[in-house]
Amino acid sequence: MYYMGIDVGSVSTNVVLLDGCLEVIEEIYLQSKGSPIKSICEGLEKLKGKYDSKQISGVGTTGSGRNIAAAVTGADIIKNEITTHSIAASYMDAEVQTILEIGGQDSKVILLRNGVISDFAMNTVCAAGTGSFLDRQAERLGIAIGELGNMALKSKVPVRIAGRCAVFAETDIIHKQQLGYEKEDLIAGLCYALVRNYLSNLCKGKEIKDKVFFQGGVAANQGIKKAFEDILDKEIIVPEHFKVMGAIGAAILSKEALENERKKTMFKGFNILKGKISTDSFECQDCPNHCEVIRIYSNNTMIGCFSDRCGKYQISDAKSKI
């Protein structure tokens, strides 16, 4: 009895396996590198040797690539990352009331009351509060991203970095760098700037109550955690599996959904890796929308089709009945 959760994000693809009691027994964290299908296969490959297809009793997918992942693996449930993150967090600790999540390309705040989402906000437009901004700045300063957090902790006087926007903040960092500030102080300043951006973009008018969970890839960074603690004046908890919370939530949901509907999983088995999974895309010329339609094939049979607005390429039988 194992439940699989797959979170396909823009930066990383995570696969987790939970046992029947919903304990995490496998946790795989991979870089997406622009090809979600490849990284999904890579993740499955790692599980293939250890487990049998029949042992998997449910699959859930989430993240921006959730539909593709579902088409490839045959998922029982496809859920957005906001719901999955909150499910996982409230499963870990029923008293969680606030979830701060910072991922590679977007960031979210989720408020839970009695274990149910009561409000949320998500930022996709501004990069100033996301992991990719941090990556970029670390690279510019010539520091490995892993060391960023520890370096920030060493700082005594964080530099105040102006600007609420990634572009302006970067200009200011360059400026301050040239003025000769210490690297540690600059990095700490960067963490504070990111947290301030995050709070003003997402948390305006939202009541942040204990307990506060901080999850997502950026939660590995101690500097950001400290900045949150300082600014919010609250204890911030980074859960054990902070990197893969989305995937955990998807796995939990798959169990829940299958038990509610008393169904068997639609998981296609690890055998899918044997067959050839290929994609092709074309620009549909039927209307001026010119949708770039993507089709996924497994051994030359179409298993999924995406990004057509009108939905005419999708496998559906409802239409033919009119």
């Binding site: 921006s64 906001i82 998500m122 001026p288 929308n289 409802a318 009945k321 009119i322």
Partner: protein, 363 residues
């Protein structure tokens, strides 16, 4: 004289029928697509709202297809819509798209006589039977209303559908057929026909779907491209939803019963007591109504930079708290990726669903 006009949702269906009936040459620009937006924004000022860019694109395409007169509605502020005409003319003229302009302004701004004069110009200055015109107007009014009635019915029934997708397919087929019909009577027959079909679709009355109200800025609500086909998505998700602001509603409040609206606008509601332009006050009132009618949530739509709706957005948290209703504000702009906002809508619907179950199971 060939007239063209910018798109606003399904208005083109009605305008085309009206022009057909009155023997006025009219060129319907192609429906809004990414291409329209790209063309429009190439010539538009950067910070103008999304509707302007789309309208600019529509008119360019209309003029390219042979139209020589642009007909547009206008308002008397303080929202930007009223200045659209002026700026559109200036932008299009500058880029070599010349046309005559007929600006159908509000009565308050130019007086009823001038309005009628301008409306007369649309008919090419020729004398046409007033009776026929009245008849045609009445017919088109009927088409709009019966189409909207059907649409509303579909939006509501969507949540109860047993086999998802059939109602949506009917709606699309119906609109397609109307576009090919030649007269108002044909169109009415088609709608009637499809309305019957809607009633035949089996429903699961035991279901308890999420019910939401769509509200916000009028263009984003009426023009499907302006809200990135949100209604389709809600129908796909099996959500029962209602939307009060439609073209029919706009016609009613602007021309048919302006006094009723004026009376409504002067009423205080405790959250926003004055009419501040646009449809801000309507949005606020709809949230209150939604609560009264036991809806689960409200989705507010606005294009980036819409001035009146920003005011509403700022009082939304208060309303959500005091009325105990969930509100999601979605800001559309052309730079936004689709993925982000779909996630938000999905998460919102999920949230409402889970809250509902919570209440049902009582834990």
């Amino acid at each position: 004289m060939k007239i063209t006009f910018p798109h606003l949702g399904d208005a083109y269906i009605a305008v085309r029928l009206l022009c057909n009936e009155m023997n006025v040459d009219c060129i319907v620009p192609p429906l809004n697509t990414m291409e329209t937006l790209e063309r429009g924004s190439r010539y538009s000022p950067e910070e103008i709202c999304l509707p302007f860019k789309l309208m600019a694109g529509n008119l360019m395409e209309g003029i390219e297809n042979g139209a020589d007169t642009v007909v547009m509605v206008s308002s008397n502020g303080p929202c930007r819509l009223g200045e659209y005409g002026e700026l559109l003319k200036s932008v299009l003229d500058k880029n070599g798209y010349h046309a005559d302009w007929i600006l159908l302004d509000t009565v308050q701004a130019i007086g009823i006589r001038e309005l009628l004069k301008r409306a007369g110009l649309v008919w090419g200055g020729k004398k046409r039977s007033k009776l026929k015109l009245l008849g045609a107007l009445k017919g088109v009014y009927k088409v709009i209303h019966s189409l909207e009635r059907m649409e509303k019915e579909i939006h509501f029934r969507c949540g109860y559908e047993i086999e998802r997708g059939r109602l949506k397919a009917i709606l699309y087929k119906c609109k397609k057929d109307i576009c090919h019909s030649d007269s108002i009577n044909d169109a009415l027959k088609i709608i009637e026909n499809y309305s019957d079909k809607v009633k035949e679709i089996p429903l699961d009355r035991e279901k308890n779907p999420v019910k939401v109200v769509l509200t916000g800025e009028i263009f984003s609500l009426i023009e499907p491209f302006g809200n990135q086909y949100l209604e389709d998505k809600l129908m796909d998700m099996g959500v029962s939803f209602s939307k009060r602001i439609t073209i029919g509603w706009w016609i009613d409040t602007t021309f048919v019963q302006p006094l009723k609206r004026a009376r409504m606008m002067s009423k205080k509601n405790g959250f926003l007591n004055y009419c501040i332009g646009g449809y801000a006050k309507d949005t606020v009132e709809e949230v209150i109504e939604a609560k009264k009618n036991h809806y689960d949530g409200v989705i507010q739509l606005l294009p980036l930079g819409c001035m009146p709706e920003i005011v509403v957005k700022s009082i939304m948290p208060d309303m959500a708290e005091e009325l105990d209703i969930k509100i999601l504000t979605v800001v559309f702009d052309e730079m936004n990726g689709e993925a982000g906002y779909i996630t938000r809508i999905e998460a919102f619907i999920d949230m409402l669903q889970r809250r509902k179950q919570h209440v049902l199971y009582g834990y």
